[in-house]
Structure formats: structure tokens, C-alpha cells
């Protein structure tokens, strides 16, 4: 009897550890004001109609690699904003592969953020004023998950389309090699 009760209590404790596993904070506006310089991007190429885009007066969001929701949103933007158009599903096509250990402009969250927002020479467009910062940070988390740079229990395990590579959550962590471009 007491043994059954102990097992029951242990079971409840195990189940309760799943409660509030992840907080979703939708209201993260105006955490910082003007965190990024308003300098023009490194690339002239811009998606959509040329123009100054939207100039935010404050920033929302930030890099959060510990929320499965944030990373999964990033995976959605990766398709919706047509990153797949050049980078394919991470294997690379017109643009470089994102699921290997080679990083031309750096693998840290800040450098990936700068790559997306400012663009890079030779093809990467500047998404400044195009993608809101909160979504860029979600994209950064997802891009890092593609080469196993975030925790596998947070990385997405399900693709909406057909995928040849194993899901992000089952990729071997790579050790970024910053000095070996291409």
C-alpha cells in the first residue's frame, strides 16, 4: 500500500516536472531602445522595393536559444522569408550551406544577426527594415540549430516539408571552424 503510494507520488512528481517547461513571452516589446546603429547595410541588395524600409525606434526580443517556440518560429521564418530560396534547407545552393562547420562571417549570434540585418558582400541581401528584430533573433537561433549549435531538446524535430537531412534536433554538434571559409 505504502509502496503503491510512493510510486504514485513519484509518478506525479515526474509528470509535474513537465509543467511550465517553457514560458512563451509574447509581449517583449521595447526591451532596449535603438540598440543597433542605423548605418546602412553592407549590401546594396534588398528584398522587395528599394527604399529605407522601416526604422524601428526600439527593439523587441533578443537571442533566446532555450525556447523551443522561438527556434520553431525561426524555422518558419526561414521558409516564409525565402531563406530557402538561396540556402535551400541548409544544404546550400546559390548561398552557402548552413548545416556544416564552415562560417564565412562568424557563427556567434551577433555576427549571424549582423549578416541578416546588414547583408554581406557577394549576394547576401540586407534585411534591415524588412524583418522585425524579434523575428531576426528567432532566425538566428534557428540558423544556429541547423549545425547543432544549440541544445537538441530545443531544436525543431519536425519539418513541414520533405527533408533529406536528419531533423535539427538530431544533428551532431559541429565545432565552428571560423578560419576555413567556403
Amino acid at each position: 500500500m505504502t509502496k503503491a503510494m510512493a510510486i504514485g507520488v513519484a509518478g506525479v512528481i515526474v509528470l509535474m516536472s513537465g509543467c511550465e517547461r517553457e514560458e512563451r513571452d509574447f509581449d517583449r516589446t521595447a526591451l532596449r531602445s535603438n540598440p543597433r546603429a542605423q548605418a546602412d547595410g553592407m549590401a546594396d541588395l534588398q528584398p522587395g522595393q528599394p527604399g529605407r524600409g522601416m526604422r524601428p525606434t526600439a527593439s523587441a526580443g533578443g537571442y533566446n536559444p532555450n525556447s523551443a517556440y522561438e527556434v520553431a518560429q525561426g524555422k518558419q521564418w526561414f521558409r516564409w522569408y525565402n531563406c530557402v530560396g538561396c540556402h535551400a534547407q541548409g544544404g546550400g545552393a546559390i548561398g552557402p550551406a548552413l548545416m556544416d562547420d564552415k562560417w564565412i562571417y562568424g557563427s556567434t549570434p551577433d555576427t549571424i544577426f549582423a549578416t541578416i540585418v546588414d547583408g554581406r558582400p557577394n549576394g547576401m541581401p540586407s534585411f534591415r527594415g524588412r524583418i522585425p528584430e524579434a523575428q531576426v533573433w528567432q532566425l538566428v537561433a534557428y540558423v544556429r540549430s541547423m549545425s547543432g549549435l544549440i541544445s537538441p531538446d530545443v531544436a525543431p524535430n519536425r519539418s513541414d516539408g520533405m527533408a533529406g537531412a536528419p531533423p535539427e534536433g538530431r544533428r551532431e554538434p559541429t565545432r565552428p571552424d571560423e578560419n576555413k571559409p567556403k
Binding site: R24, F26, D27, R28, T29, A30, Q46, P47, G48, Q49, P50, G51, R52, G53, M54, R55, P56, T57, A58, S59, A60, Q76, W80, Y81, G129, R130, I131, P132, A134, Q135
Partner: protein, 341 residues
């Protein structure tokens, strides 16, 4: 009963949406033949169940009333009672027979209702494609001539007296298409195509909703069904086939340039401009819509500005992000969207 019913509806379903004239949302006041068939079946089922309920309670009361009373002095009744048993057996047989007849009657009525629903004539039907998303609806009006096809969102205009064949798709999870005044529910299952057909016989506005829990903002996934006289409907459709008009004043033109060089055009489409993405509601004739955010707020400039500035405050979890932009940029965007009649 009817007034109480409406008051209850108003309290439960319309109150959270705020001060909006409530479109009809009542399965028992059918505005078309499909809902009428369903309402008939509902009333028949209610009548049968009420009859059975009253009969069972009456039988119970009668049994309690006729129970032999006894006290401490009553001798034990040990006599066999074969005659009484036989009588009770007959009564049970009669009751079981009546129950079976009623249940089979309901079954037949249900099958007949299904047949009646399937027999709506689709001659000259209006063909509409509806796609459900978390948490809004795409509505595309089909036509034999491709250039006459057009798309809108979160509103379904139909001509009175003409059948409508709606083809249902889901973009993400299971949703359910429900306009209680016109028809029953139909689930939208990702990867499968469903159809639903109905006819509105009375002009008016009817509230449609998602009727299958589909995530955080399931409660705010509504659409307005507007039934217009055929001539009015054709005029509405012709207006919606046109691309967006060129804005005339300077603020609206600045808003358009912001829209097309900013983040709006990465998800939204406005026909007649270079914005042509389909991950968010088509905004070509946005200003003609009664509500924004799939029934969340009345479509007023102040609400629109609040929505663009931070949709997460109004509808947490929705895919549109906050736009922390200067007030004059926001005003220009709102002015431009206001010109999209």
C-alpha cells in the same frame, strides 16, 4: 425563451469582441435550407427526448406512489406472485418497444436530414475556396476565367438564393468551419480537401467561427458571412476584382512606400503593387472590411494603429510582430491602408 437565448448568446460569445453590432449567430434561426434541416432535426430530437424524459419521470412517480406501504406490524409477504410478474413483463416489453421505435425514428430522421443536406441543388453554384490558418481565413472566389478570380480574408460575401460550394483547406492544424445560421460544422484537416454547400435565403450578416480548438487564439478566429442580393453581390465582386487604387494624398503615398519597402510586403499582398506574399491576409480591399485580426477588433484607424504597433498585446501568439516605428510612419501606414477601399 428566445429573448433569454439571445441574451445568453450575447453574454457568452459576443461580449469579448467588444462593441460590435452582432451578426446573426443562431443555429435555431435558420437563414437557409441547410440550417433549416438541421434545426428541424434538433427540434424533433428535443421533442422526443422531452417526451421520454417526462414519461420516465411519470413512471417513476407512479411506481413510488403505488409502492405498498408497510409498517412494523405488517406480516412478511412470502406468497408467490406469478400473475403480477406476467403483467410487469408485458409493461417492460411495451416500454422497450416504444424506446426502440423512438430511437429508430431518430435514426431515420438523422439519415433523412443527411440526405436532404446532400441534395441541395448546386446548379449555378458560387465556387469559393476557403483556407484556414492559425488564426485567420483566406477566401478565394473561383471563376472559369482566371483573371476574374480574386482573394480576400476573414469575410465571405455570398449572393442570396444562389447555392455556395465552399472547398475547405487547412494550412496548419485541424480547424472547423461553422456558420450556425447557414449550416453545421465541417472540419478542415491538413492535407485533405473537404466541401460544404449551403444557400442563404435571407440577406443579412452571419457570424462564422472556427469550431475546433486550434491553438492559443482559437477564440478569435471568426469571419463575417454577408449575404447580399445577387446584383449587389456582383457589384461587390467586381469592386474586389479591381487592383488597389493609387493613393492620392502624400501621407498615403508615403505609407505605400513604407509598406512596399518595409516588412509588411514580406507577408501581405496588395494586388496592383509589388506586394504579393501569401503568408498573411490579402489587404487589397482592406478598408472595406468590418473587423481586423479575424474578428478581434472593429476596423477603425485607432485600432489599426494599435494593431500594427503591437499585435502581440491584442492577440498574443499571432504571427505578426510588433513594429516599433515612429508615430508619423505609423500614421502614414494607417492612412494608406485606409485608402484600400
Amino acid at each position: 425563451m428566445s429573448a433569454a437565448h439571445r441574451a445568453w448568446l450575447a453574454a457568452v460569445s459576443i461580449a469579448p469582441i467588444g462593441a460590435i453590432a452582432s451578426p446573426a449567430h443562431d443555429a435555431l434561426r435558420a437563414a437557409g435550407p441547410q440550417a433549416a434541416h438541421i434545426a428541424d432535426l434538433w427540434w424533433l430530437t428535443l421533442g422526443v427526448c422531452a417526451f421520454v424524459f417526462v414519461a420516465v419521470l411519470a413512471a417513476l412517480a407512479w411506481a413510488l406512489w403505488r409502492t405498498p406501504r408497510s409498517d412494523a406490524g405488517t406480516p412478511a409477504d412470502a406468497a408467490p406472485a406469478p400473475a403480477a410478474e406476467k403483467r410487469i413483463g408485458r409493461r417492460v416489453t411495451v416500454a422497450v418497444t416504444i424506446s426502440s421505435v423512438l430511437l429508430i425514428g431518430l435514426l431515420i430522421a438523422s439519415v433523412m436530414t443527411d440526405r436532404a443536406l446532400a441534395h441541395l441543388s448546386l446548379d449555378d453554384a458560387l465556387h469559393v475556396q476557403v483556407t484556414a490558418h492559425q488564426w485567420w481565413w483566406t477566401v478565394t472566389y473561383d471563376d472559369r476565367q482566371p483573371e476574374r478570380i480574386f482573394t480576400t480574408a476573414n469575410e465571405l460575401y455570398v449572393p442570396v438564393g444562389r447555392p455556395v460550394l465552399v472547398t475547405l483547406h487547412s494550412d496548419d492544424v485541424i480547424h472547423s468551419f461553422w456558420v450556425p445560421s447557414l449550416h453545421g460544422k465541417k472540419d478542415l484537416i491538413p492535407g485533405r480537401v473537404a466541401t460544404i454547400q449551403f444557400r442563404a435565403d435571407q440577406p443579412g450578416e452571419y457570424l462564422g467561427e472556427c469550431a475546433e480548438f486550434c491553438g492559443l487564439q482559437h477564440a478569435f478566429m471568426a469571419f463575417d458571412v454577408v449575404a447580399l442580393a445577387p446584383a449587389q453581390f456582383e457589384a461587390w465582386a467586381d469592386a474586389h476584382r479591381k487592383p488597389a487604387a493609387e493613393p492620392e494624398d502624400a501621407a498615403a503615398r508615403r505609407g505605400r512606400d513604407l509598406f512596399l519597402s518595409g516588412s509588411c510586403m514580406l507577408c501581405h499582398a496588395i494586388q496592383g503593387t509589388s506586394a504579393n506574399a501569401h503568408k498573411a491576409p490579402d489587404l487589397t480591399h482592406f478598408a472595406s472590411r468590418a473587423r481586423i485580426g479575424a474578428g478581434r477588433l472593429p476596423n477603425t484607424p485607432a485600432n489599426l494603429a494599435a494593431w500594427i504597433a503591437d499585435p502581440q498585446k491584442i492577440k498574443p501568439g499571432v504571427n505578426m510582430p510588433a513594429h516599433l516605428i515612429p508615430g508619423d510612419d505609423l500614421g502614414a501606414l494607417v492612412a494608406y491602408l485606409g485608402t484600400l477601399r
